[in-house]
């Protein structure tokens, strides 16, 4: 297992933001964490990364605890946050160089810039990039260390169709080579294109965990989108 999470809970005051969640993934697998805004997706990721305080029975990445062995774990785990902020005066090249300097071994950066459509932008300030470009840069930085596991929080929000397809293609190629991915997304086409397994959250609780086919058959719906709405109890609204 590349990642094992067993009975993880996050509590804010008296409110349980994440309630007893368990999942695990192997090399080359992709799990999608789905749910409405506020369902606990980002809190789950933050807790798994050790940023948010949590209670758990087991939490290991690459065989180690991300909290006790932070440095070793994040040598091999990449992260793209939902909102990525950069220093005001940072250029694209600086951002890449800075992130490269943090790791023992790194990917071929010119190649990544090419794949993520950022060639020719190296001397631009990160702040001056478009939303989609900044998003692609954030994903690029998450992959710069050639990680074994990567967390992508809403990876294509704000991207146009072509950019999304490009990103999927790249991620699928890396998945073939053994990259494990944990992602959150609001787009069911993206989930179907990338994920082996999904975890649907509602108010911090797991309402479905399994493959996409299982989600569709268990809900007796025709599409993943309908199945998703069924499990989150949102179908009566549409």
């Amino acid at each position: 297992m590349i990642l094992t999470v067993k009975n993880l809970s996050v509590t804010y005051g008296t409110k349980k933001a994440v309630d007893n969640i368990s999942f695990s993934i192997k090399r080359g697998e992709v799990i999608g964490i789905l749910g409405a805004n506020g369902a606990g997706k980002s809190s789950t990721i933050a807790a798994v990364l050790g940023i948010e305080k949590s209670n758990y029975e087991e939490l290991t990445m690459i065989g180690k605890s991300p909290i006790l062995h932070r440095k070793e774990v994040f040598q091999e785990v990449g992260v793209q946050f939902q909102e990525t902020n950069f220093q005001d005066k940072l250029t694209v090249r600086d951002a890449c160089e800075q992130w490269e300097s943090l790791y023992k071994q790194t990917a071929d950066v010119p190649f990544l810039l090419q794949t993520f459509g950022l060639v020719g932008k190296e001397t631009q300030l990160v702040k001056s990039l478009s939303g989609g470009e900044r998003q692609r840069l954030a994903v690029l930085l998450a992959l710069i260390s050639n990680p074994k596991l990567v967390f992508l929080d809403e990876l294509t929000t704000g991207l146009d169709t072509r950019a999304r397809r490009m990103l999927w293609k790249q991620l699928l190629a890396m998945k073939e080579k053994g990259l494990a991915i944990v992602l959150t997304s609001h787009y069911m086409d993206e989930v179907e294109a990338l994920c082996n397994e999904i975890l649907i959250l509602k108010e911090g609780k797991t309402v479905f965990h399994g493959t996409i086919q299982k989600a569709i058959s268990a809900s007796e719906k025709a599409t993943l989108e309908d199945a998703y709405l069924h499990f989150t109890g949102e179908e009566e609204w549409v």
Partner: protein, 246 residues
């Protein structure tokens, strides 16, 4: 993270800080202007006498250290925390110590520029001459710098948000700027105020620097050194132990 990777990291942090105007104004220009003013007033003040002017050099060279170490360092760290940049660093192999150390070194580079500027002003404009040994003086100055930066790093590591970073660094900066002898000479303060000034770590640093600059033997030297050493130990250990990523 090896040495060469740390240098890359340092280079980029340096570029970012030096591209900003803050460090130029507060880290370099302001300390030099202030030092020039004080030097001018004291070197012309018949009542204060030549000895007060001689002593003032040891005091005004700490202004740049205060501005960068006690203001610049905590404000930059708090800004990185506020913007979520430290949160991104949290999920990389970098240690808080490396971030703090890099930021400290960058700010220090401007403190050193202002030190050279103030020294040139004193030597060229006011014909100042250091009576003590330069080696001992610079060693003492280094100790004072490390102590002040430890205080700044401590504040930057612990403050939860930018507002409290502003408050705490301003409190530390202005009290030490005004009441430790950095600007208003300790010797001219009433005895009662001197007792209060003795609480501030920089007062001890300036005492040491004054003694080193005049070539006097360091009276109570050990006591002042212990106070500064305590600032370093408590500041750095506290910073590493209680460092907040977000």
């Amino acid at each position: 993270m090896g040495m060469s990777t740390f240098l890359t990291f340092l280079k980029i942090e340096g570029k970012l800080v030096w591209k900003g105007i803050d460090i130029l104004i507060f880290g370099i220009c302001f300390p030099i202007i202030l030092a020039t003013l004080f030097g001018y007033v004291l070197s012309n003040d018949e009542v204060a006498g030549a000895s007060n002017f001689d002593l003032s050099y040891a005091a005004v060279i700490t202004i740049g250290v205060l501005a960068t170490g006690v203001m610049g360092v905590p404000l930059t760290i708090a800004d990185y925390r506020h913007q979520g940049i430290l949160k991104r660093f949290q999920v990389t192999p970098v240690s808080p110590f490396q971030i703090l150390f890099a930021q400290g070194l960058i700010q220090l580079s401007s403190a050193l520029v202002s030190f050279i500027g103030v020294t040139l002003v004193y030597y060229l404009l006011f014909n100042y001459e250091l009576k003590g040994s330069w080696a001992i003086f610079l060693m003492t100055y280094t100790l004072v710098i490390i102590a002040m930066y430890s205080i700044g790093i401590f504040i930057g590591s612990l403050v939860p948000d930018q507002k409290s970073a502003n408050i705490w660094s301003s409190v530390a900066y202005f009290t030490m700027l005004l009441f430790s002898g950095a600007t208003i000479p300790y010797e001219t303060m009433p005895r009662f105020f001197q007792y209060i000034m003795d609480i501030l770590p920089l007062s001890h640093g300036i005492h040491l620097l004054k003694q080193a600059s005049t070539g006097e033997s360091l009276t109570d030297g050990l006591f002042h050194i212990v106070i500064l050493a305590l600032c370093i130990v408590i500041g750095l250990c506290g910073a590493i132990k209680f460092f907040k990523w977000k």
